[in-house]
Structures are given as C-alpha cells and as structure tokens.
Subunit: 140 residues, 2 copies
Amino acid sequence: MPALKHSKQRDAILSFLMTRKDHPTADVVYSQLREEYPNISLGTVYRNLTLLSDIGQIRRLRLGDGVDHFDADTSPHYHFLCTKCGSVIDLKLDNIDYINQLADVGFDGQIAGNVTYFYGLCGKCTKEKCSAGEEQTDVL
Amino acid sequence: MPALKHSKQRDAILSFLMTRKDHPTADVVYSQLREEYPNISLGTVYRNLTLLSDIGQIRRLRLGDGVDHFDADTSPHYHFLCTKCGSVIDLKLDNIDYINQLADVGFDGQIAGNVTYFYGLCGKCTKEKCSAGEEQTDVL
DNA sequence: TTCCTTGCAAATCGTTTGCATAATG
DNA sequence: CATTATGCAAACGATTTGCAAGGAA
C-alpha cells in the first residue's frame, strides 16, 4: 500500500461522516460535500471511502439493500435496516462473537468473524403503518 | 402476483439448484443450464431465480461479495463465505434468532429478523496457506 | 521532483426490463 | 383465448478505473 498524502477532500469526507449517525451512502456523502466543494467528484468520494475503510478509519456496511453505507463509528456495534424506508439505525447489543465458536464446531476451516445485522420496521414506519396513500417499495 | 404457469426452464433451474450444495450464482446456473438448453437466456435465469425466491422455493443469499448466491435448501441454516476462494459452505449451527429479542431491548421499532453469516478461510484454503505462486484477491 | 490525489469520463459488473414471440392452461 | 414465460438486447444503478493535470512531502 502506497504512502498516504494529505487531502482536503479526504478530510472533508471523514469529518462529514463523523457528524452523521445515519450511515450515509456514497451518493449522499457526494451531494452533501458538493455544497462545500462544488468540484469534488463522485470518483474521489468512492476512492476515499474505500481507502478510509481499508485503513480502518470508517466501516463499510453491506446490508443487502444494494447500496453501501458508511459509518465513522468503528467501535463494534450492530445495525438495523428498516425494510420500509431504508434507514439504518445503530443498535445497542452486547457483542455476540461467541457465535463464531458455535459455528466452528465440526467446521473444517477457520472462522474469522461474522456479519450480523437486523431488519424490520423502524419506529417511524411502525407508527405510519395505517397512513393511507403512501406507496413505497420495500427494501430487501 | 400473477398466476403461475409451468415452464421447462424454471423446472430445470430449480432442479439444477437442488443438485448443488455450493450455492451457485446466477451466472453459474446460466452457464450450466446452457449445456442442456442452449437457448436459455440469462434474463430468464434471473427472472426465475427471483421468482423462485419470492415464492420461497429457494433462498437468495447476499454475502457482501457483490454477487447473489442461490440455495435450494430453504430450511433455516447458516452460511460461511471463504474470503480467499469465495466458496460458500453450509454450517451446522443451532438457530440464534433469540438475538432478535436482545436487539429489541430499548429499540423503538419492530425487529423482524436478522441476517447472519460467517467468513474466514475454508478448509481447503487453510491448508493451501503456504503454497507459493498462487495469487488471489480476497473476497470481502 | 516524486508520487499521491483529483476531476472527469468511460468502463465494469451484476441485475433488471421492454418488447415481440412462443408456450401454457 | 387470455395470460404468463421466453430470448434478445438494451437499460440500469452502484462502483471502479484510466488518464492527464493538480497538490502534498
């Protein structure tokens, strides 16, 4: 891996991500940063998001909804994906990595880790369940 | 949802999937079926895989490696993804859906379920770890 | 001056879709 | 006959990449 040089864009991407707890997608990062840096390109955003997650400064979340989400909180925690509105929410849940050992029983290989996330209806969508007129296609 | 009509292609896709326990991708299904049905199209394969998983006859697996895998075994079980060779393997592991309740504590919404899979090195790749010359890019 | 980073655009890749035709019930 | 399914190709959406120019060490 090449030596890292400083860049305004990368700084901006990381600090933007730190201000948000809603796990934005690359596109959201891009359109937001566009306001402060009108010339920033989507490619740069993707490159930096990839780089930052490669060096462990952020986490890339793949929740099966077809888009990557990014999280500046790299501490171990779990996520919830609303199948109605697509929002991603942090969950407070004790670490369950002991399931790695359970899974390892009788397995011919080495389990390095697991990916676990939850889905369902978020608080908002639960309450809106009887509201008429709003048509949405479910995520997942 | 429209009424279902019979089709040779769908039958072939489903029965092919039932013969395999390696969770093939759409493309693998396609190239294999091509031998028996030289005219089958990739679109048809995708349409039927989607349909079959919609009606619950098969499972679509999204393991974060960028491709969907398909499994004719719809009974609840877990999967392992080898980060070296990309192979997907079934795991024998007791159901852990009680984590849904754990995750629900203090959560303002309804948790419908969880997605959990494991990753690491499969048995084969574990043994090949010191073999020289073979260059592979890791999955995930 | 070296080599990383950017912006832009074109390219990938997996998957979906529109359409005219063929097959099913 | 009414309707679903197919093959083909074009369209898609998210992400990646090649390249020439700009910026950091």
